[in-house]
C-alpha cells in the first residue's frame, strides 16, 4: 500500500465481510427450511429468507468491488483518490441502506421481483451511492495515469450503474417485465461484471506474478472483448420461454455457448501468467484465491452454464434445481472468490501487517470451495431427477420434491461446511496470526513490473 487514501477500502472490505457472513448464515437457514418446512413458516416465511440471502450476496459483492476499486485505483492512476471523505460517507450510506432493507424485509416491506426486491427508496439510495462512487473514481482516473486495468474496471462499473436503471422499469405486461429484468440480471453477471472480474484479476496478476503490464493488459482486452461479444447476445438464453420470438432459441443457444470461451481464457490467462512470471510473492493465499476464482468460475459459469443453455435442454431443465446448482457455483467462483482474492491480497497492507494467517485462510479456501462444489453436485442430482419426473413423466411438483428430499439434506450438510469455511476466511482476514505464521517479505515491496 503506497497511497494513504487507499485505506478507505478497509471500510468496504469490513462491511462486505459482515454481509458475507449474514448471507451464508441465512442461506443455511433457507436450506434448513427446505428439509424442516415448518421452521419459522409463520414468522419469517421462505420468501423473506431467500430475499435476504440473495440481496445480501449482491450488496456485499458490490461493496467488495467498490473496496477493490478504491484500493487499486490510486496505485493504477498513481495519484490519491479525489475525495477519501466522500468515499467514507458513501460507505456508510450504502451500509445503512442495506441494513434498512434487510430489517424492512423482516417486516414484509419489499417489492417483488426476484433480486430486485428493494423498495423504491432503497433503489434510489443505491443510485445515489453509485453516483457518489462513480464521481469520486472517475475524477481520480481523469487526473491520473490511465491504465487498461483502470479503464476497463471503470467502464464495467459505469455500466453496472446504467443497467441498474432498468430496475425502475416495471411494466404491467409480465413478458415485457421479464425481458428487461434480464438487462439487469444477465447483463450484469455475464456482461459488465466480467469486466470487473477480468480487470481485478489482471491487477492481481501484475502484482503477484510480476509479469509485464503490456502482456497482461493485452490479454485483458482480449478477454473482455470475448465476454461482451458473446455475453450480450447470450442474453437470448433467457428469452426462450417468456413470450419472446422463437429466433432467440438459435441466437441464445449459439452465443451463450460461446460465453464459455472467455471463462476458459481466464483460466489460461491466470495459469500462464503464474508460469511465466515465476516470481515468488509471499502472499500465497491471494494467489490461491486468484487461480481458484478463474477455475471455479469456468466450472460454475462455463461448464454448469453450458449444461443447460441449449434451448432443447433448457426446455426441460428451466427453473429446476439444475438452475440453483449453476447459480451457486457460478456466483461463488466468479464473484465471491474474486472478492476474497482481492481482500486476501489487500488486507495485510491495509492493516499495516506483514502477510499473515495464510494457513488458516487456505483452510478456509478448501473448506468453502469443497462445500460449494458438493452443494452443486447434490443440487445437480436433485435437478436431474426433478427434470425427469416432472418435465418428462409429468409427476406433480410436490410429489417430486418428496422424491428428492435426500439431496436437500446433503445440501444442508454442505452448507454447514461452507459456513464454517467462511468463518475461517473472515477470521483469517480480520485477526492477525501468531508470530510463527508470519512471512518476512513486506507486502509493499517495490514491484519490478511497474
Amino acid at each position: 500500500m503506497t497511497y494513504s487514501s487507499q485505506r478507505v477500502a478497509l471500510y468496504y472490505f469490513g462491511g462486505a465481510l459482515v454481509l458475507f457472513f449474514v448471507q451464508v448464515l441465512v442461506g443455511v437457514l433457507a436450506g434448513a427450511v427446505y428439509v424442516m418446512p415448518n421452521l419459522l413458516s409463520e414468522t419469517v416465511p421462505f420468501n423473506v429468507i431467500r430475499m435476504i440471502h440473495t440481496n445480501a450476496l449482491i450488496v456485499w459483492l458490490l461493496m467488495g468491488f467498490m473496496g477493490a476499486t478504491y484500493y487499486l485505483l490510486p496505485e493504477e492512476t498513481e495519484t490519491e483518490l479525489h475525495s477519501p471523505r466522500l468515499a467514507i460517507l458513501q460507505f456508510w450510506l450504502f451500509f445503512v441502506a442495506a441494513l434498512v432493507a434487510v430489517v424492512g424485509y423482516l417486516f414484509g416491506i419489499h417489492e417483488g421481483r426476484e433480486f430486485l426486491e428493494q423498495p423504491i427508496y432503497i433503489k434510489v439510495g443505491i443510485v445515489v451511492v453509485s453516483l457518489m462512487f462513480l464521481y469520486n473514481c472517475t475524477l481520480t482516473l481523469l487526473k491520473g495515469r490511465k491504465t487498461a486495468v483502470a479503464n476497463v474496471l471503470m467502464l464495467g462499473l459505469w455500466f453496472v450503474a446504467i443497467f441498474f436503471l432498468f430496475s425502475f422499469y416495471n411494466p404491467g405486461n409480465l413478458s415485457l417485465d421479464k425481458m428487461y429484468w434480464w438487462w439487469v440480471v444477465h447483463l450484469w453477471v455475464e456482461g459488465v461484471w466480467e469486466l470487473i472480474m477480468a480487470s481485478i484479476l489482471a491487477y492481481l496478476m501484475i502484482k503477484l506474478t510480476g509479469v509485464d503490464r503490456e502482456v497482461v493488459e493485452k490479454w485483458l482486452y482480449v478477454i473482455v472483448g470475448l465476454s461482451l461479444f458473446t455475453g450480450i447476445l447470450g442474453t437470448g438464453h433467457h428469452y426462450y420461454w417468456i413470450g419472446t420470438p422463437g429466433y432467440w432459441k438459435w441466437i441464445g443457444s449459439v452465443f451463450s455457448t460461446m460465453e464459455v470461451v472467455p471463462f476458459f481464457a481466464m483460466v489460461i490467462f491466470t495459469f500462464y501468467m503464474v508460469w511465466k512470471g515465476g516470481r515468488k510473492h509471499p502472499n500465497k493465499a491471494a494467489l490461491l484465491w486468484s487461480l481458484g476464482c478463474a477455475v471455479i468460475a469456468f466450472f460454475g459459469g462455463g461448464v454448469w452454464g453450458f449444461m443447460h443453455t441449449l434451448a432443447p435442454v433448457n426446455y426441460y431443465t428451466h427453473g429446476t434445481q439444475v438452475t440453483a446448482a449453476h447459480g451457486h457455483l457460478a456466483f461463488y467462483g466468479a464473484y465471491v472468490m474474486l472478492n476474497v482474492a482481492m481482500m486476501t491480497y489487500a488486507m495485510p497492507g491495509l492493516l499495516k501487517r506483514e502477510v499473515y494467517n495464510q494457513t488458516l485462510n487456505m483452510w478456509g479456501f478448501w473448506l468453502t470451495t469443497g462445500g460449494m462444489c458438493f452443494m452443486t453436485f447434490t443440487l445437480t442430482f436433485a435437478g436431474v431427477v426433478q427434470t425427469h419426473l416432472q418435465r418428462v413423466m409429468g409427476m406433480n411438483y410436490m410429489e417430486v420434491q418428496d422424491q428428492i428430499a435426500l439431496f436437500f439434506w446433503y445440501r444442508l450438510g454442505s452448507g454447514v461446511a461452507v459456513l464454517l469455511g467462511v468463518t475461517l476466511i473472515i477470521y483469517s482476514l480480520a485477526i492477525p496470526g501468531r508470530e510463527g505464521g508470519r512471512v518476512s517479505t513486506p507486502q509493499g515491496a517495490p514491484n519490478p513490473a511497474e
Binding site: E42, M51, N173, W248, G319, M393, Y397, M398
Partner: protein, 150 residues
C-alpha cells in the same frame, strides 16, 4: 499471445465489437418488444385488473417461493400454468372458485409439508390475482412448460 496483435489493436477490437453486438442486441429487443405487444401476450386484453393482480403478485413476493414461466424460486410449484392445472380451460368458474379455496386454506399447517402463508386478500384482490394468473397462462411461450405439472 501473438506478437502481431498489439495492445491498442486489441483495445479497438474490444470497443468496436462491443458496439456492434450491442447494436444488434438492441435492434432485436425492439423487435421482440413489438412482438410481445402485438403477437404473443394478448396485450389488448391486459386489463386494469390484471395489472393490479401483477402488483399484488409483487407486493407479496410470490416469486421468492414460486417460479412463473420458469423464473423465480424453486421452493413451490410453477404458476404460469396453474390456471390450466385447476381446469381453467374447460371450466373457468370452477377454476376461479378452486383457486380462491386454495388461498383460503393456507397455511395447511401439515407437519413436514412446505407451507404457503395466509395473505388475507379481499375477494377483489383474489379476482385480480387470478385474472393475472389466467392471463399469464395464455401467453404464447413456445409451449413451455412441457407437462401440466409445470
Amino acid at each position: 499471445m501473438s506478437e502481431r496483435l498489439t495492445k491498442s489493436a486489441a483495445r479497438n477490437i474490444f470497443y468496436g465489437g462491443t458496439l456492434f453486438f450491442l447494436a444488434i442486441f438492441i435492434a432485436l429487443v425492439v423487435q421482440s418488444h413489438l412482438y410481445i405487444l402485438n403477437v404473443s401476450s394478448n396485450n389488448d386484453r391486459l386489463t386494469e385488473s390484471i395489472i393490479r393482480g401483477k402488483r399484488l403478485w409483487e407486493k407479496n413476493a410470490c416469486i421468492d417461493c414460486h417460479t412463473i414461466m420458469g423464473e423465480g424460486a424453486y421452493f413451490a410449484p410453477e404458476l404460469s400454468n396453474v390456471w390450466d392445472r385447476f381446469g381453467g380451460k374447460d371450466d373457468p368458474e370452477g377454476a376461479r372458485e378452486g383457486l380462491k379455496g386454495w388461498f383460503a386454506a393456507m397455511p395447511t399447517g401439515i407437519e413436514g409439508r412446505r407451507q404457503m402463508p395466509q395473505f388475507n386478500l379481499s375477494d377483489q384482490d383474489l379476482d385480480d390475482l387470478i385474472d393475472f394468473l389466467k392471463w399469464t397462462s395464455e401467453i404464447d411461450d413456445q409451449n413451455w412448460p412441457p407437462t401440466d405439472a409445470g
